[in-house]
Symmetry: C2
Subunit: 234 residues, 2 copies
C-alpha cells in the first residue's frame, strides 16, 4: 500500500501525486457539485466506478486532507463525506478542466451515462444574470433523469438539484441539446428544430444567456487566441 509518486520536486507533479489516480478528480467533482454526500450517493454520481476503488480513493483523499468523514446528524446517522477547505480549493482545477472539456461535449453521446446534476458545470460557468434588478426567477431543466433547477436572482445564477414548486420556465430535451443551448453553441431556433422544447418567456432565456465567455477557451491571457475559434472535436 505504498503511495505511487512521480518523484519530482514540482508543484504540478506533487498535485498529481495526490489527484492523478483514476477516478480521484471525479470524486472531487461530485463533492463540489453535491456537497457532503453519502457513500451510496457518490456511487450513483460516479457510474462505472468499482466499489472497492471508491472506498480506497476516499481513504487516500482523507489521508491527504482533501476530504473528511463526518457523522450525519441524529435522524439519519450515516457517514458523510465532505471536502475540507483544502479540498474546496480544488474548484479552480475542476473549473479549468470543465471549461477545457466543453468542446468535447459536441461528440455523439448516445452511449454515455448522464446525471443531471452534472449540468451545474456548464450552467454556473456560462450563465449569468443580466438583469439583476428583476425579481428572482427559475428555469427547470428536464433531460431525462431527475430535473434540476436554474435559479436566477440578484445577479447570481445557481443550480438546485431538485425541482421547485412553480418554475417560470421549463427546458426539455436531450442533455446535448440543453447543454448546446446554455453554452451558446446552439441557437434556440435551431435547437427547437432538433426537438428541444422551451416553455416560458424568451425574455427569461435572454436574461441568463449572456454569451458570457467563449465556450472553447479558459480565462483570457495575452498571446492567446481570441474567441470564436473553430471548435475542434477529435
Amino acid at each position: 500500500m505504498r503511495m505511487r509518486t512521480y518523484g519530482q520536486y514540482c508543484s504540478v507533479a506533487r498535485a498529481l501525486d495526490v489527484l492523478g489516480d483514476r477516478w480521484t478528480l471525479l470524486i472531487v467533482r461530485e463533492l463540489l457539485l453535491r456537497g457532503p454526500s453519502r457513500y451510496t450517493d457518490l456511487r450513483a454520481g460516479l457510474p462505472g466506478i468499482a466499489t472497492n476503488l471508491l472506498a480506497e480513493r476516499l481513504r487516500e483523499l482523507e489521508r491527504a486532507g482533501v476530504l473528511a468523514r463526518r457523522d450525519a446528524p441524529p435522524p439519519v446517522a450515516t457517514a458523510l463525506f465532505e471536502l475540507t477547505e483544502r479540498g474546496q480549493q480544488l474548484r479552480s482545477v475542476l473549473d479549468a478542466l470543465g471549461r477545457w472539456g466543453v468542446p468535447l461535449m459536441a461528440e455523439p453521446a448516445e452511449h454515455l451515462q448522464f446525471r443531471s446534476h452534472w449540468l451545474s458545470y456548464p450552467v454556473e460557468l456560462f450563465l449569468l444574470d443580466r438583469e439583476a434588478q428583476r425579481p428572482p426567477e427559475t428555469i427547470e431543466l428536464r433531460t431525462g433523469g431527475e430535473p434540476v433547477c436554474v435559479q436566477v436572482a440578484a445577479g447570481e445564477v445557481r443550480v438546485l438539484h431538485h425541482a421547485v414548486e412553480r418554475p417560470h420556465a421549463v427546458l426539455s430535451g436531450t442533455p446535448q441539446q440543453v447543454l448546446g443551448l446554455l453554452s451558446g453553441q446552439l441557437e434556440l431556433e435551431h435547437a427547437r428544430a432538433e426537438g428541444l422544447v422551451y416553455e416560458g418567456e424568451e425574455r427569461l432565456l435572454a436574461r441568463v444567456l449572456g454569451h458570457r465567455a467563449p465556450v472553447s477557451a479558459g480565462p483570457r491571457r495575452e498571446g492567446e487566441p481570441a474567441a470564436g475559434d473553430a471548435v475542434q472535436v477529435q
Copy 2:
C-alpha cells in the same frame, strides 16, 4: 489499443478521458514551459517516464489535437513536438494544479528529482514587477542544475531557461530555499540563516516579491477562506 473512457457525458470526465492518463499532464507541462521540444528533451524533463510510454502518450495527444509534430528548420532537421492552440488552452488547468500543489512543496525533497526550468511555475505565478517604470533587470537562480534567469521588465516577469551575460543579482540555494523565498513562505533573513545566498541589491528582490497572492489558494471566490490559512502539508 482501444481508448479507455469514463463513459460519462460530463465535460470534466471528457477532459480527463483525454488528459487523465499517467504522465499526460506532465508532458503538457513540459511543452508549456519549454515550448516546442525534441523527444530527447522531453525525456530529460520527465525523469522516471518509460520511453515507450512517452512515445505512446505523444501519439495519443497528437490524435486528440493537443500537440502537433513538426519538422525542425533545416540546420537541425529533427522532429519537434509543440502544443496546438487547443493545447495552449490547457495553461489554465496547469496553473490551477500548480497553485494547488505549492503547499506540498514544503515537504522534504531530498529524494525527489529536480529540473530548474520547473521553477517557472512558482516564479511566473507569484512574482510581479512592482516598479514597471524602472529599467529591465535580471536575477539568476542557481539551484544545482542549469541556472535559469528571472527577467523583470516593463511590468512583466519572465523566466529564461538559460544564463544571461551579467545578471543584476544571483540567488543560490536548494530548490526548496529558492522556492520558499520566491513564493513568500520564507523571509530572506530566515532563508539566509538556512544557507541561501543572495548577491545583489535587496531593492531588486523587493521589486518582484510582491506577496502578490496567497500561496495556498487559487483565484479568490466568494465564500472561500481568506489568505493566511495554515498551510497543511500532509
